[in-house]
Symmetry: C2
Subunit: 289 residues, 2 copies
Amino acid sequence: MNIGYIQMAPRFGHVEENVAKVRLMMDDTTADLLVLPELFNTGYFFKDFKEVAELAEKIPDGFTCRELAKSAKEWRCYIVAGILEEADGMYYNSAVLIGEEGYIDHYRKIHLFDDEKTYFAPGDKPLKVYDIKKAKIGIMICFDWIFPEVTRSLALMGAQVICHPSNLVLPYCPKIMPSRCFDSKVFAVTANRVGKDVRQGETLSFIGQSQIVDPEGRIIKRAGADNESIDVIFINPKDADKKTVSKNDLWADRRPEFYSPLTMDAEALAALKPVDAQTNLSVDKYDII
Amino acid sequence: MNIGYIQMAPRFGHVEENVAKVRLMMDDTTADLLVLPELFNTGYFFKDFKEVAELAEKIPDGFTCRELAKSAKEWRCYIVAGILEEADGMYYNSAVLIGEEGYIDHYRKIHLFDDEKTYFAPGDKPLKVYDIKKAKIGIMICFDWIFPEVTRSLALMGAQVICHPSNLVLPYCPKIMPSRCFDSKVFAVTANRVGKDVRQGETLSFIGQSQIVDPEGRIIKRAGADNESIDVIFINPKDADKKTVSKNDLWADRRPEFYSPLTMDAEALAALKPVDAQTNLSVDKYDII
């Protein structure tokens, strides 16, 4: 199976141009699965609600989805792409999954970064795993990566390849994703953008370095920091099915009855009290000291 | 606050010698918290049940605990140390927490590695966080590290420093722990052993490289691969309280309602079915293609 990413620099607000560029980059691709950056069609650095509203589109009936569906059909390829979504007057930082026969589903980013909270509603759709025949895939968007619960949940649900449309501005993700993949024995395709969004005198720079990591935590493909590129690599998704280290089965050996803090909310966690080392003593047992 | 580890090579089965060595290494220590390796008093490579039974001791009444309590009192130090425990005819790979006034509590390894399953019962005590006045600490043992749920749970429960007695034979842990600490903004002290256990013609080699990682994921102290050492470093445990990246609060921004797979057991996870990309289509919406 061939998987890949497109790393590109969208021009802010020029949806038709950005989509056309990506469709051109996709020409003749041998990829079975291609991941595009977050908000690849609009750019990232919104400055007011009005432009969010103007640039957002319906999924799946909007321009970008329909155009991507043409490429997916033409090149017989699954595409995961970040799109600004409008639905019922709400705006979401979404990623659509499109196959050669059309739109399949979409995900809405559940962990919004920084000023995204001003413009986007937090995702309200569950993390899902999709069987696209050659592989089982999961989707997360950019900052979702920093919460280890996300890749772990997707892998536990059966994902072999995590598709990760991104607009990274901080340097951490490319360094940490290998450990996510090692932990859960899963592939990850982080498709980042490059270039800058310069808006009203403010600049946001994106770090590129799109990458594909294998289940051993090795970076098997990485793009440059500032050039556009499409990179495709052959993998065997079944390499993600061996959840073993030495004689241990990392899935069967989990002890979820001990992991309850992971699904507690902030309030419940704050209510947990540490054991007081002073009041928990059994000093009387040490008559020797 | 001064935290540190002792990296040493136990001689298999020579409990008195190993404990005496560690007490000597601890002499004059300025550490407020010192982490010792897993099974530091007995060695690791058991070959039959009989020797497990002979070397195991009661906690807190056994020899090792009582000896460590003397050092803890003398040097006014908390100690976290790996000990082979016998309790009600069961044997546990345990870690004891001892303060200057004596035994406080102990933890039993919940994720047993490799042949440990032959000899030890899986841990049955919950992950806990202890307030030792200068810091809040959590305890995990060796292979527990590979399950990201453990450090994450301890950090979510309020741990500022994770104490990690280890007997590492594989190369992964020192490389992955920085990402665990980065993710959860927590310190970790991995105290590994060095040397070999040669038993009945078989050899097990340990990788050393004990280390202390800070909440930014930086290795701020690391021991060699084969020398014994005690290393102590000054830290501010409050550095673990800033759970932020950019404008995001990594604790408040969690969406635990989406993380339910994390606390599912293997059977429940296996029953989850991926979305079939073929039957989930909305092809009719794309009359253009």
